[in-house]
């Protein structure tokens, strides 16, 4: 005869289902784009998007995530905190592998928990992982824009085309208020 069986799982914190504030108008806004040392395709996409954001009057600052442990990690955490402190909104990517999706979502959750409009970016193969990690990180409503997969094996010209194709839907996902964001994709 068995007694009561105890639960081996963790007690989860309450989930935040809200996407957080919309990005709103872009003119005059300081936008942080978090890139990494893994994905050149994300460098290319974010450069295309940054061009568009600047055209709408925003200022864009890139920050590259490198090693996140040891002394290098401490420096990175401080740099990232400084970046967010001086930004009105954050674009965080790229979730295109397991660990990089984990760090993308962690960095996005950090930005979102600071109250600024935040969007994470992942490729289609890692979308579900990104959503699971967002939920398990306590913010299932985190905005996520999904790019095609595979992306990193494509030539720059093709990736640039994808970035341009996705720009308007990205703005909409981010809650940007502008004429361009309201237009449907060509």
């Amino acid at each position: 005869m068995l007694g009561t069986v105890l639960d081996p799982t963790a007690n989860l914190a309450a989930d935040v289902t809200s996407a957080g504030p919309d990005a709103g108008a872009l003119a005059g806004k300081r936008i942080a784009i978090r890139i990494d040392m893994l994905w050149r395709s994300w460098d290319w996409v974010s450069e295309v998007w940054a061009e568009g954001l600047r055209a709408e009057g925003a200022t864009v600052t890139f920050w590259r995530s490198c090693g996140r442990t040891g002394e290098e990690g401490r420096v990175a955490a401080a740099e990232y905190a400084d970046l967010l402190a001086g930004s009105d909104m954050a674009i965080v990517g790229l979730g295109n592998c397991g660990s990089c999706t984990s760090w993308t979502i962690r960095d996005a959750l950090t930005a979102a928990s600071g109250g600024i409009p935040t969007i994470a970016v992942a490729t289609a193969h890692f979308e579900q992982l990104a959503r699971n990690l967002s939920k398990r990180g306590g913010r299932s409503g985190l905005r996520l824009h999904v790019l095609p997969y595979p992306l990193d094996i494509l030539p720059k010209e093709q990736v640039d085309d994808i970035a341009r194709d996705h720009y308007r839907s990205f703005l909409r996902n981010f809650g940007v208020r502008s004429g361009l964001a309201q237009q449907s994709a060509a």
Partner: protein, 326 residues
């Protein structure tokens, strides 16, 4: 099983009585917070450790070791968040030092990396269940591991054969004497076999050169850094130790020989590797940045012929913690 608490193997039901008994014998209070485990960043209390350890079949005497191992894994420098989600096949290897090795029957001789009957697989399984049930690492849900590894079922738990080592115990060299646990992000285990070498340099060269293969994570242009672990068999260790009683010399030689010429890589690799400053003036690329990143220990059977290598996943830095007495 239906609740998703398990790994597919039979589980021992964690009844109140069994968990209470485990806690009493393990000598810890249930409410004590040991660590926050990612990706859930969930509170891992002593009670949660006990429940999962009961399910895995681990002995109560292993509770202090389990607590210290979890604490070490949760150190931010170990990057458990990245390790849990990665496409890589990494698992935290748990290396045990000190008198507890014999009390807990953690293997350090023949078959120490797997196959010896004893509590090590159950202790490793307890850690794996904690990573699943408390941390939230589930394949296909929060873990993208492309292949996984057998070590993700029952862990990799082994000890150092300190008495056969010509050098101070691994944990002591890392600042913790006596009972200690070291966690290392291992991409599985691989054997190094040689029947020709018969001197220290011969053994060290075959170890170092075996470790340097182009697909090792240490060579990834996406890795800021990496470590590597050489588990030297006691027969080789004795020969090496006679010629190199200072472990730093051993680390230096392995580091130096564990490298590939840049022209072994296809031309498109040159730029990203060069950008990281990893091409040395002699045209070689080392697996790990410095000799300090070569971790050396002694274990294995007296059969000779063999040593073992455990490549690191990358950014998770090896972490050592003392293990409190039960």
């Amino acid at each position: 099983m239906e609740a998703g608490w398990g790994d597919g193997l039979p589980l021992i039901p964690p009844t109140e009585e069994r968990v209470q008994d485990f806690l009493v014998k393990g000598g810890r209070y249930p409410d004590e917070l040991v660590a926050l485990l990612p990706p859930l960043d969930a509170e891992c209390t002593v009670e949660k450790i006990a429940i999962n350890a009961v399910m895995a079949g681990a002995p109560p005497e292993s509770l202090p070791l389990l607590c210290a191992a979890i604490e070490a894994m949760a150190d931010p420098k170990f990057d458990l968040a990245g390790l849990n989600a990665t496409t890589g096949s990494v698992v935290p290897a748990v290396i045990v030092n000190g008198p507890q090795r014999d009390r807990l029957r953690i293997p350090y001789g023949a078959g120490c990396l797997g196959g010896v009957a004893g509590p090590a697989p159950a202790i490793g399984r307890a850690i794996r269940l904690l990573m699943r049930n408390v941390g939230g690492q589930v394949v296909g849900l929060t873990s993208q591991s492309t292949f996984g590894t057998p070590g993700r079922v029952a862990g990799i738990v082994f000890a150092e054969w300190e008495e056969k080592s010509p050098w101070a115990p691994l944990a002591e060299r890392r600042g913790v004497a006596g009972d200690a646990v070291t966690v290392y992000g291992a991409m599985g285990t691989a054997n190094i076999c040689d029947v020709v070498a018969n001197d220290a340099m011969g053994f060290l060269e075959i170890i170092a050169k075996s470790m340097a293969y182009p697909g090792a994570n240490g060579f990834l242009t996406a890795s800021a850094f990496s470590e590597t672990l050489a588990v030297i068999g006691p027969v080789w260790a004795e020969v090496i130790g006679r010629e190199f009683p200072d472990i730093q010399d051993v680390q230096q030689i392995i580091w130096d020989k564990c490298a590939l010429p840049i022209d072994w890589f296809r031309p498109e690799y040159y730029e990203p590797i060069d950008k990281l400053g990893r091409i040395k003036p002699d045209g070689r690329v080392h697996l790990v940045p410095t000799p300090d990143d070569v971790i050396v220990m002694v274990a294995g059977g007296m059969g000779g012929l063999h040593s073992a290598m455990l490549h690191s996943w990358g950014t998770c830095l090896t972490t050592t913690r003392p293990v409190a007495a039960a």
